[in-house]
């Protein structure tokens, strides 16, 4: 039976829905191969220490323990990471954070595993450690990676635009503040997981919950000392990622385990506690802003100093800092800017990619400062923004050229017209007893793609199968955002097929083509572009072949539709299966490489920052509004209503679009209000979901999502990346609402009830 056509712009039901909702879709965590062994690691007890010796004598002979491995068993470089390969699969000379893996155990069951891990004895010589990034930059601080010339500075640099600091002398109003931004834990429901085995041909096959199958394969080859073509990585649907699986999690350990398991498959699946200890987080940091404007409300100068704590290893700290710096002037035209950034090693847990990638940290600060400045010159907060935001062709304060679709003004205008904004005073004044209300807004942007750091390429592949159906070889993992079903919709549009004429193969380095990571708001943009062209090429081949087969003289007279080709004038048709039968296997496969456009390099940023991905060319924009109510007795903040207006280009599928907006806004509310990941002296204090408070269904309101549909000429069917812009603004929008309610800004987040109460007490005391 053929389903209805679901063209671009309609809500095709996600094709991954039925198998997931029946519990039949297999995630990496769901594989239990026959005769498998568990793999797990003994992690460091110290934030910084030399490994003097490892005593495995009580473990090696334990019944049920098949292998116990240390760095000595690793044949390759024992280093993973991108772009900086500084993280060992198993620690060798020293450990750099409390959680560094040291010994890998393969065991028959979890009980034996526990016993074995317990009995491993590691002799450490404790080294002085450093936990604050500013301290880590100071002369004489303990150095984590001795081979680095910059000591603990992973990457640093400046963006200068106009006259930098001098410009403040002619400002009529200046506001300055320093913001403390917390860690955020991804807390995807599927913790890091995977299986591995070495097959009969000697190929190491890893099925893992990963956003980066292609990069993993390269890193594994280097770390484990294997040829790239002897490694196969498969990425099934992920049970969430959000950046936390943007790179190797368990894959290095799994690969090593499978090389020492006597041919048996191995499985790893981290517990929630281990996931909290050892997975990457959103970079915590300090952001110091100074922003000045003219009397008439024209922004004139911005300075910003960003210090991010990347923890023990680089992970994606470099690109995160570059992106934070690029977004530090927000979506505003500011003629003079100085942005300095430092991403610093400490003996804390590792920070890395997280949805938003540095932008949430800076926009949290900037958008509160903008409110404060508007108040200072007594200008309406929304008008102040409208007066200063970029239009297409402008440069932001950081010298980033808005060469492509730029819809921030319509975003602000939609908020301005909305009753939530129009009736803000009335709503605030209607607060009940012991309640204090405020309405906050925030505006911002997010770059799509990698920037000029590495080529942003996707290779799509699509095949006409012999039965007349089509197979899409997805090159980019789907961590839940729905790029796979969107691929079906894109190919369906080009080929005139209903969704049930497609099957979709998940990324597998053995049969799909390298297409980069599922990240950076690039997934649908880059792969979708490649797929659209690959499908168009295949369509031409099919129609030409139909002409060959006598269906017509001109391909223009033919219509490709579900399962067949029609001759429009005669009404005759040929089933696609017949056309497939007349094509060679090679002809039935079409592939296309798409490279995303990059911006010209403005000279405003230093070379290190440019090399880390500055600047982007295509941007999404948004303005969010939060109506908040504070309980004056408990300090708790309720977000009563929430409006998200987004310019992510054309909407390909309204339902999937809303999924991103709603989910991102709520994840941002968690960042703003509750998610308090505590680390003290390198020790993770927040170890489970009882103490790490994720938003529940009771804590959040319905989100009202309004799209502003600019047309992005470079995007497939006019779209641009949406996944990240949605998380950049909840924190500042809520903080601005809270500031209205309390009469003062709080510069440290999350805005927990405790922090709010403290602020109220202080205010009363004054």
């Amino acid at each position: 039976m053929t389903g209805p056509l679901t063209p671009i712009g309609t809500s095709l039901k996600r094709t991954d829905g039925p198998s997931k909702i029946r519990g039949l879709e297999k995630y990496a965590a769901d594989y239990y191969p026959a005769n498998f062994l568990w793999a797990d690691v003994k992690r460091s007890d110290h934030p910084h220490a030399l490994i003097k010796g490892i005593d495995l004598s009580h473990v090696r002979g334990l019944p049920g323990v098949l292998a116990v491995l240390t760095h000595e068993d690793i044949k390759g470089a024992n280093r993973i990471g991108v772009p900086e390969m500084d993280q060992p699969v198993l620690a060798d000379q020293k450990v750099c954070y409390k959680g560094d893996p040291v010994v890998l155990v393969l065991a028959e069951n979890k009980a034996v595993m526990q016993e074995a891990l317990h009995k491993i004895e590691i002799d450490y010589e404790v080294l002085p450690a450093v936990f604050d990034p500013e301290d880590a930059l100071a002369e004489g601080a303990p150095v984590l990676h001795e081979n680095r010339s910059g000591k603990n500075l992973l990457i640093g640099g400046a963006i200068e635009h106009g006259n930098g600091m001098e410009a403040f002398q002619v400002c009529d109003a200046i506001v300055e503040a320093e913001f403390d931004l917390p860690y955020q834990e991804h807390a995807y429901l599927e913790t890091e997981a995977g299986i591995a085995c070495v097959d009969d041909e000697g190929v190491l096959e890893i099925t893992a919950s990963t956003q980066t199958p292609w990069r993993d394969r390269n890193e594994l080859a280097y770390a484990l000392g294997l040829p790239v073509d002897s490694i196969r990585v498969i990425a099934p649907y992920l049970g969430g990622g959000f950046g936390g699986k943007d790179g190797i999690t368990v894959q290095g350990l799994l690969g090593l385990a499978a090389l020492h398991s006597n041919g048996r498959p191995v499985k790893m699946w981290t517990s929630r506690e281990e996931s909290f200890l050892a997975s990457t987080k959103r970079h915590p940091g300090r952001v110091h802003y100074r922003v000045g404007c003219k009397e008439d409300g024209t922004l004139h100068a911005v300075s910003c100093r960003i210090v991010l704590d990347t923890g023990a290893y680089a992970s994606l700290g470099g690109p995160v800092l570059a992106l934070a710096m690029e977004h530090a002037a927000g979506a505003y035209r500011i003629p003079h800017a100085l942005v300095e950034g430092f991403c610093v090693y400490t003996n804390n847990p590792v920070s890395g990619a997280f949805r938003g990638f540095g932008a949430p940290q800076v926009l949290a600060g900037l958008e509160q400062i903008i409110d404060m400045l508007a108040d200072k010159i007594r200008m309406d907060r929304l008008e102040f923004r409208l007066k200063n935001v970029v239009s297409r062709g402008d440069e932001t304060g950081c010298g980033v050229w808005m060469s492509n679709s730029t819809g921030i003004i319509p975003c602000l205008e939609k908020v301005k017209e909305h009753p939530f904004w129009v009736q803000q005073e009335e709503w605030v004044n209607q607060a009940g007893p012991f309640k204090q209300r405020g309405v906050g807004i925030a505006a911002g942007l997010q770059g799509t793609g990698y920037g000029p750091m590495v080529a942003d390429i996707a290779n799509a592949k699509i095949e006409l199968l012999s039965d007349g159906h089509f197979r899409i070889y997805s090159g980019v993992a789907d961590m839940g955002q729905g790029n796979n079903p969107t691929n079906v919709q894109i190919a369906g549009e080009v080929l005139g097929q209903a969704a049930d004429y497609f099957e979709l193969l998940q990324p597998d380095t053995a049969c799909s083509l390298p297409s980069g990571s599922s990240s950076a708001s690039r997934t649908t943009y880059t792969f979708g572009n490649a797929l659209k062209t690959a499908a168009t090429i295949l369509k031409e081949r099919i129609l030409t072949r139909a002409c060959n087969m006598g269906l017509g003289i001109y391909a223009e007279d033919l219509l490709l539709s579900s399962g067949k080709v029609f001759h429009l004038t005669s009404g005759r048709e040929i089933p696609l299966a017949n056309i497939a039968a007349s094509m060679s296997p090679e002809e039935r496969i079409s592939s296309y490489a798409y490279t995303a456009p990059v911006a010209k390099h403005p000279d405003s940023a230093g070379s290190a920052i440019r090399a880390a991905g500055f600047p982007h060319r295509v941007f999404a924009f948004a303005c969010h509004l939060a109506r908040v109510e504070i309980d004056a007795l408990t300090g708790e903040v309720e977000v009563c209503d929430y409006l998200a207006v987004t310019d992510a280009g054309r909407v390909l599928n309204p339902q999937i679009y809303e999924q991103q907006v709603q989910g991102g806004a709520v994840q941002g509310m968690g960042y703003a209000l509750w998610e308090d990941f505590r680390v003290e002296n390198g020790e993770v204090l927040t170890r489970n979901l009882a103490s790490y408070i994720l938003p529940t269904s009771m804590d959040v309101p319905d989100i009202l999502s309004l799209p502003v549909e600019t047309v992005e000429e470079t995007g497939p069917f006019g779209m641009k990346g949406l996944g990240e812009i949605v998380i950049n603004l909840p924190l500042p929008a809520i903080a601005n609402g809270v500031a209205w309610a309390l009469g003062r800004h709080i510069f440290t987040s999350p805005l927990t009830a405790e922090r709010i109460l403290l602020t109220m007490e202080k205010r009363q005391a004054e």
């Binding site: 029946r22 991804h186 929630r272 709520v666 979901l689 529940t696």
Partner: protein, 156 residues
Amino acid sequence: MIIHFTLNGENKNLDCAPDCRVVDLLREELGHTGTKEACGSGECGACTILVDGISKLSCLMLAAQLEGHAVTTIEGMSKGEELHPIQKSFVEKGAVQCGFCSPGMVMATADLLQRNPSPDRKEIREALSGNLCRCTGYQKIIDAVESAAAEMRDDA
């Protein structure tokens, strides 16, 4: 020890360690990997199953506690390809993103709608507050439960 229970209507007599967690029994021994584990300590709801129609967290139950009871997992909700109305509305309303929370959400919803066939949005939010979802922001899940409730009332 040998335990006897029914799983999605089928009789099971299994020899297993009495301290084996039900979630492990289902996933590892019986291959029912639709029941997920995301915390192992009763905080997320991903492992929710029905025992005699009542929602339970299978990560907190031991195999011996199943003796004589009827267990329903997500695999038992649909009849072959034909989805249960709750499952159907989850798919229709876009309540499934990564899908890792979805089986648990469906089971918790089944329990709710048995107790309260016409919950309002607030009641749905309360009833599902033990089930964490990191992807959806919950809104489309609430939409799905509302619409499933309506459909099931019409059918009844």
